[in-house]
């Protein structure tokens, strides 16, 4: 334990605190400008299990700020190169390198294996994916983003605190805000901001001091100004993500930076004009016999997209509103964007049609 002596002699950490650090499992998404200093300090601190996800390879222009890499890492996958460096830094921890792209399919199962997730990504698409997967798996997210000489840091989903979507509900378009590789960044900046992230990770593990939850810290390296802005939790934004939880893994990568509320009640559906109702029940033996309703069993949906009138708004229903949600995500994947899933299912629709004497053909 000599390695951790300077931690242990701090009365706020001690042997017990160091043990907590050694037992912790932290996943760092992105081993770039932010990920490198985060990983370096977390490995040195003795985080027992460190996961690193990155699909990218080390290039020469990374070396100005991505401090885990050297000339010998050029051309090597970042997660693997980082693991190699960190294993030399600390032999007593377990490091898992995942040289792959994070997507809707793998995010949930990765995140479930860890206690804390660190966002060191460099684009909005992945940031919203990380944030949503953290909401769904209920994992604290230590977030940071940088722009040229400035950075922002926060801890989300911590003890019922706000999430990234409570601060910025919808993603800017990718082209709206350029990234470091396009506009440049001061090399020291991610070092400062990443170190702040590592600090928050350690504080969460130790339950030490004031966690940066419910506020976002803006830092400007030119004016050396720190601004701390309060952020409140928005149940509505969090619920929107929870509403897509059971179809999350089926969402195609990047098809929606914006979570629309596509889960509606019959009452809400009836306020919409120009509706086509779609019955996706698989074992619907009874014919509905209303011209407004088309029947496409869920299993055959993708083969029958041509039956759907794209000029209309699609309201999809099944027995209980679960399969219809999946159906809506399929429709949206095929650019049928104005589609909604009915919360309460078929019975309610049928009663409505009967009551209002819709014409039978």
């Amino acid at each position: 334990m000599n390695r951790y002596n300077r931690h242990i002699i701090l009365s706020e950490i001690g042997l017990e605190g160091q043990h907590k650090i050694n037992m912790a499992k932290v996943l760092v998404v992105g081993a770039g400008g932010l990920g490198c200093p985060v990983l370096q300090y977390l490995a040195a601190a003795g985080i027992g299990t460190l996961g690193i996800i990155d699909f990218d390879i080390v290039s020469e222009s990374n070396l100005q700020r991505q401090i885990l890499f050297g000339s010998s890492s050029l051309g090597i996958n970042k997660a693997i190169a980082a693991k190699k460096r960190l294993e030399d830094l600390n032999t007593s921890i377990s490091i898992h390198a995942y040289p792959k792209k994070l997507n809707h399919k793998n995010a949930i199962s990765f995140f479930k294996e860890y206690d804390i997730i660190v966002d060191g990504t460099d684009n909005f698409k992945t940031r919203y994916l990380v944030s949503d997967a953290c909401i769904i798996t209920k994992k604290p997210l230590v977030y940071a983003g940088i722009y040229k000489f400035e950075g922002q840091v926060s801890v989300f989903n911590y003890n019922n605190g706000p999430s990234y979507r409570c601060l910025f509900p919808n993603s800017p378009k990718q082209e709206e805000i350029p990234n470091c590789s396009e506009i440049g960044v001061l090399g020291v900046l991610p070092g400062i901001i990443g170190s702040l992230q590592a600090n928050e990770v350690i504080k969460i593990i130790l339950n030490l001091g004031e966690i940066l939850s419910g506020k976002v810290l803006y830092y400007n390296s030119l004016s050396h100004l720190f601004n701390l802005i309060k952020v409140s939790r928005s149940e509505k934004e969090i619920q929107k993500v929870m509403d897509i939880a059971d179809i999350f893994e089926n969402l195609d990568e990047g098809i929606r930076c914006e979570v629309k509320n596509n889960n509606i009640t019959l009452k809400e559906a009836l306020t919409k004009k120009n509706i086509q109702w779609i019955d996706v029940r698989n074992n619907s033996d009874q014919k509905t016999n209303y011209p407004e309703i088309i029947q496409i069993p869920f299993a055959d949906l993708e083969q029958n997209l041509h039956k759907i009138d794209k000029n209309k708004k699609q309201v999809v229903f099944c027995h209980a509103g679960i399969m219809s949600k999946k159906a809506v995500s399929i429709l949206q994947k095929h650019q049928i964007e104005d589609s909604f899933s009915l919360k309460n299912g078929a019975l309610e629709v049928m009663n409505h049609f009967k009551k209002n004497n819709y014409e039978k053909p």
Partner: protein, 77 residues
């Protein structure tokens, strides 16, 4: 009243200044946004939050501070 608008990140770049003083006679954040959009059309197409007294505001919030911050999200890492 005279208020100072502080632009963060990309917003400083597109407006060409990290802060500027404007004469404001309206009441709400929404009124203020109107003025800023007229002055810097490009802001209209960008996502940002507005804060005063270190708290985030909605369009309906009354402007009570002489210093208002416009905060965009940062993508870089």
């Amino acid at each position: 009243m005279m208020i100072t608008i502080k632009y963060f990140g990309l917003l400083a770049e597109v407006t060409g200044c990290s802060s500027e003083k404007i004469n404001f006679s309206g009441t709400t954040i929404s009124d203020l946004k109107e003025i800023l959009f007229q002055k810097h059309k490009v802001l209209k197409s960008l996502k940002f939050k507005i804060a005063q007294h270190n708290e985030l505001n909605t369009d309906k919030t009354k402007v009570t501070s002489s210093e208002i911050a416009l905060l965009p999200p940062f993508a870089g890492g």
